[in-house]
């Protein structure tokens, strides 16, 4: 029985009603509950547990998984600084420290008056206009000391975020190079009209003929995925658009959703018609919460145009609609089976595969999961045919790829190229000078040195989900790798032993090297860990977690060597450092409060 006297019922009941008391919507309900109350109150869980008939431990377990959900009170203003390496290069740490000291709060804590909490978060997808932060989940970019001072003042004066200067929230598209997708004018409904004219089977054949491969990273054939799903039997079929875009340095899906949402939704609708789905989901990362109202408006407009809803374009048997689900700060939810778990309101733990989503996806029914860019590309194919599309790009990699360029270059932003473009060409176009390295496809991708800049963006050379981070000769590639390793450790879901423990061990090793306590022994250890993670991890996150370290050790060894103060192994445990707490408590820092060994070193 729902307890009517629960003081949280007033804001929870409308949320529950909106979600039809559906336990599969638990994550969405928790996000809304937190938006209403600031955190998920323990009494609110009583009410949700009764109303949804879910054990409280399950609700706490889900809330505890997602970085953006809080079971304890947070500051009235929750400030999260994006902490990708590109933000670091633009000075985010100095800005965060400045805000912390202006507001008298320690990073990671809530201020004593409960006014503000400040912390870091994984890449928020604003690398072309960083440093960036989120305040109460809304993005602010292009931070400067001036802007930080203004933010401190607004928080001190308790000005509601909705009344902050509008220019703080401006987000640029920064489209620098357009090709077939970003250039093409799109008339809503034109791809669907082409599909209805050609027929579903013939359209599927066009998509297969286009040789389109997934743009989210794995590069699976889109036509085959749709065909497998269409052929799978189930009570219902589902279409899911993966807009989790959590890979550090990637922001092209944000721009597509901002300016090309109609195309993306139309691509999903094409898929729905072909596989026979009535329901679709867009899984939008929590960092892009600010796009929600815009996307809902686009959906509503499409319903009005009879491009969504019942009897689409007058076809009696063509019903399809799209719901938007928000993520809540969990990179692993970009992995398609973890994404489906999250859609079902659970912890985002990747499933055991097989079975794959095409046969057992959302609610164990046949489900297509595709990336935002993939769906957008299918509309071009429906309009122009598979042969046309296959003629663009290279033999193995048809069509175009959108790159999210950031880091040390004059013109960061989106660059759409036919597949086959060289790294050097991209560097020239974006105005990069004295380039030391390029990290392609994000933290889990590959780090390229100048002798590799003639290589090409293509599935059989340098495959990519879109990130392209440029580092010039002034950058310390060790710190790049260390930043990525911390990202993986923070984002590991914790399900499997090798990744849960191994990513943290790796962090400790990198921190040990950074602190000058490393020896060649540690390199051997890192390589052993890499083999273990690659061969025993449960999902792609663990498989690729060591890549940044291995790549940079192999290609930028001097960055490591200069940290090798020790020739022989020394333990990570540092007796002098262990005494730092005692020093802090006694207010001492004289030589007598330090151990002998340290004097010799310094």
């Amino acid at each position: 029985m729902v307890n009517q006297t629960n003081p949280h019922a007033a804001y929870l009941d409308p949320i529950l009603a909106r979600h039809r008391h559906n336990p599969a919507d638990l994550l969405q309900i928790l996000i809304a509950a937190q938006e209403a109350h600031g955190h998920i109150h323990t009494d609110a869980i009583d009410h949700l547990s009764a109303a949804l008939d879910l054990p409280r431990a399950k609700i706490e377990g889900v809330a505890g998984f997602y970085s953006f959900l809080h079971l304890k009170p947070q500051g009235q203003y929750r400030v999260l600084f994006s902490d990708n390496i590109t933000d670091r290069m633009l000075g985010n740490m100095e800005l965060m420290n400045s805000l912390c000291s202006q507001l008298w709060v320690e990073a990671g804590k809530v201020s004593e008056d409960g006014l503000v909490s400040i912390n870091t978060t994984s890449c928020t997808g604003m690398c072309d206009q960083g440093p960036a932060l989120l305040v109460n989940n809304i993005a602010i970019n292009r931070l400067t000391q001036e802007r930080i001072n203004a933010i401190a003042e607004l928080i001190r004066e308790r000005v509601p975020v909705s009344a902050w200067p509008a220019e703080f929230f401006a987000i640029e598209d920064n489209i620098r190079r357009r090709d077939i997708l970003l250039d093409g004018h799109f008339q809503s409904g034109s791809a669907l009209a082409a599909l209805l004219q050609r027929g579903s089977d013939a359209t599927l054949n066009e998509i297969k003929a286009s040789k389109l491969r997934g743009r989210g990273g794995a590069g699976f054939s889109t036509g085959m995925k749709w065909e497998f799903c269409r052929n799978a039997t189930g009570d219902a079929h589902y279409v899911v658009c993966n807009a989790d875009e959590g890979e550090p340095g990637t922001f092209k899906d944000r721009v597509l959703l901002n300016g090309y949402a109609d195309r993306v939704f139309e691509g999903m609708t094409l898929c729905a018609r072909i596989i026979g789905a009535k329901q679709g989901f867009l899984y939008l990362r929590g960092e892009y919460r600010y796009l929600l109202e815009h996307l809902k408006a686009v959906l509503q407009h499409r319903r009005q145009q009879n491009l969504l809803g019942k009897g689409i374009l007058g076809q009696a048997d063509f019903d399809f609609d799209i719901e938007i689900h928000l993520g809540a700060g969990a990179y692993v939810c970009g992995e398609e089976s973890a994404l489906i778990e999250s859609l079902e309101g659970k912890r985002g733990t990747p499933r055991n595969r097989p079975p794959f989503p095409v046969t057992h996806g959302y609610l164990n029914q046949p489900t297509v999961v595709n990336n935002v860019e993939t769906f957008a590309a299918t509309t071009l194919i429906a309009e122009n045919g598979g042969a046309w599309y296959a003629g663009i790009g290279t033999e193995t990699s048809s069509g175009t790829k959108i790159l999210s360029v950031s880091g040390d270059c004059e013109r960061p932003g989106l660059y759409e190229y036919p597949f086959g473009v060289t790294i050097a060409q991209v560097l020239a176009d974006c105005g990069a000078h004295n380039t030391q390295a390029v990290q392609v496809s994000g933290a889990s991708g590959v780090c390229l040195a100048p002798n590799e800049f003639q290589r090409r963006i293509a599935f059989d050379d340098i495959p990519t989900a879109g990130a392209f981070m440029v580092f010039d000769k002034t950058r310390d590639m060790f710190e790049v790798a260390r930043n990525f390793i911390h990202f993986f450790a923070h984002e590991s879901c914790g399900f499997c032993t090798p990744c849960r423990v191994g990513t943290s061990l790796l962090c400790n090793m990198m921190d040990k090297l950074a602190g000058g306590h490393g020896s060649p022994y540690d390199f051997a250890e890192i390589e052993k860990l890499n083999v273990l993670l690659q061969s025993t991890s449960h999902c792609g996150l663990g498989h690729s977690a060591c890549n940044p370290v291995l790549d940079t050790i192999a290609k930028f060894r001097p960055a490591y060597d200069k940290r090798l103060a020790q020739k022989d192994f020394i333990p990570a445990f540092d007796l002098d450092r262990a005494l730092s707490q005692a020093r802090q408590m006694t207010g001492r820092d004289d030589t007598g409060a330090h151990l002998e060994r340290n004097h010799e070193q310094s």
């Binding site: 431990a57 912890r347 273990l532 990570a572």
Partner: protein, 240 residues
Amino acid sequence: MSKANPPSFTLDGKTIPFGEGQTIIQAAMDAGVYIPHLCFNPEFKPHGSCKLCTVKADGRQTASCTQQAKDGMVVESDIKEINDERRALLQMLFVEGNHFCPSCEKSGNCQLQATAYELDMMSPHFDHFFPDRPLDASHPDYLLDFNRCILCSLCVRASRDVDGKNVFALSGRGIKSHLIVNAKSGHLADTDFSGDDKAAHVCPVGVILKKRVGFATPIGQRSFDEQPISATPHPVVKGA
């Protein structure tokens, strides 16, 4: 390759027959062949998280608890390469928690400890994390010592799927993942947990312990003191 009837695969050269839908480890256990494991328990649906049961199946590494057996498959398990990896996984589990075996009531009945002996793990190798994990002694009959939790989720599954109770769940993420109980207070005493639950008897390590029976069986006479874990992977523990 000859199609035997019933279907079978080879495990380190030995022929193992398997039934419809069986995974490698299920068939191996039925045939009396031991593959190291911790989160797997033959009474439950395979989970696949500890990765200790990793084998090489047709040259590809995979968790044998979740990998379906296939006719003619060639599986390698008791080989140096794989055992080295298993040992490293065990070491990770040891340093992740706080395992002080000599003072642990589960010593000798603990699958983590016994598997470490089985795989000749001589040291924890990695630096210890020394996490801070308070005990829960609230329940009159049972103690929860989270220091030893390896997150296998067997108690979660047993309580949910067998007892129909959901006493346990996992919360947190990554290295901060941890076991929680189904009570607003966070205390076991405030749940409907009972010693008759299946969940009270599935912990492979020493988290869920019955009170007042400590050291009833002297160390030296416990299950894995008498026989290695490879001989009896899931012994009935006396007095638990």
